[in-house]
């Protein structure tokens, strides 16, 4: 089934096509939700809300940009909404200038997916959110600022602090 046929079926609210799309994208989208929401139950809730929105708002997809990217953005928004509902996001730390400096150091590469999630789960929600949006969604600091209602500098500083925290966590676990 081509992407056009899939989208056409979704516009007709065809349950078989909805199931097909769910089968295709739910493993990736579940991992997206889990990265933002530490609790598995919350990630499941965000996934249900996200797919419900995908199916009910399919007419808003105008073909600009990838379909996967459109679904992913919905999942990120649903996860952030739930995260804020559970606890308001705090962005502690200095809001001064933080240069984006790439750093290199040895990391053990045989870390399991479960351990990666555990490591991300150890980050405070504010750090984790900025880290996810910048590193894994590929958003720019000004986009993150608009999305979360924070300044560009806050986004940058949170990313630097998240990196520091990650480095400490990896070190304490013996991976660095």
């Amino acid at each position: 089934m081509s992407a056009d046929e899939l989208i056409d079926g979704l516009r007709k609210q065809d349950r078989k096509v909805q199931r097909k799309l769910y089968e295709l994208y739910s493993p990736l989208m579940f991992s997206v939700c889990r990265r933002y929401l530490w609790s598995r139950e919350d990630a499941e809730e965000a996934l249900v809300s996200g797919f419900y929105k995908v199916f009910s708002q399919i007419d808003y997809y105008n073909g600009a940009g990838s379909f996967e990217g459109w679904i992913r953005r919905i999942m990120v928004n649903e996860s952030l909404m739930l995260l804020r509902k559970r606890q308001p996001l705090h962005f502690p730390g200095d809001e001064g200038e933080f240069p984006d400096q790439p750093d290199s150091f040895s990391i053990e590469s045989d870390i399991s997916a479960r351990e990666i999630l555990e490591i991300l789960g150890e980050l405070p929600p504010g750090y984790r959110t900025i880290f996810n949006l910048y590193v894994l969604e590929g958003l720019k600091h000004h986009e993150i600022g608009e999305m979360l209602g924070i300044s560009i500098n806050t986004s940058k500083s949170q990313l630097v602090l998240a990196k520091e925290k990650l480095r400490k966590i990896l070190k304490s676990r013996g991976y660095v």
Binding site: S31, R34, E44, L47, P102, D103, A113
Partner: protein, 70 residues
């Protein structure tokens, strides 16, 4: 040597995980629920129209009977 961000980017695909079947069931329930009010609303409207027609017929019959008895 690896950049910390690149490390996590590379590892991301390994995080993919099939959600439990109950998630699809919850989604289906929500989709069914969002369809039901429309059907229920239509059914209610149909019943209302039938009830009004019946009421008019009964009233007309009572009036005819009342005036013919006079």
């Amino acid at each position: 040597m690896s950049d910390l961000f690149d490390f996590f980017r590379e590892k991301e695909s390994g995080l993919h995980e099939r959600p439990p079947e109950k998630v699809w069931k919850q989604l289906e329930q929500r989709l069914d629920k969002s369809r039901r009010p429309r059907r229920t609303g239509l059914r209610f409207l149909q019943s209302l129209v039938v009830a009004i027609i019946l009421l008019i017929l009964v009233l007309a019959a009572v009036l005819v009977w009342h005036y013919s008895a006079k």
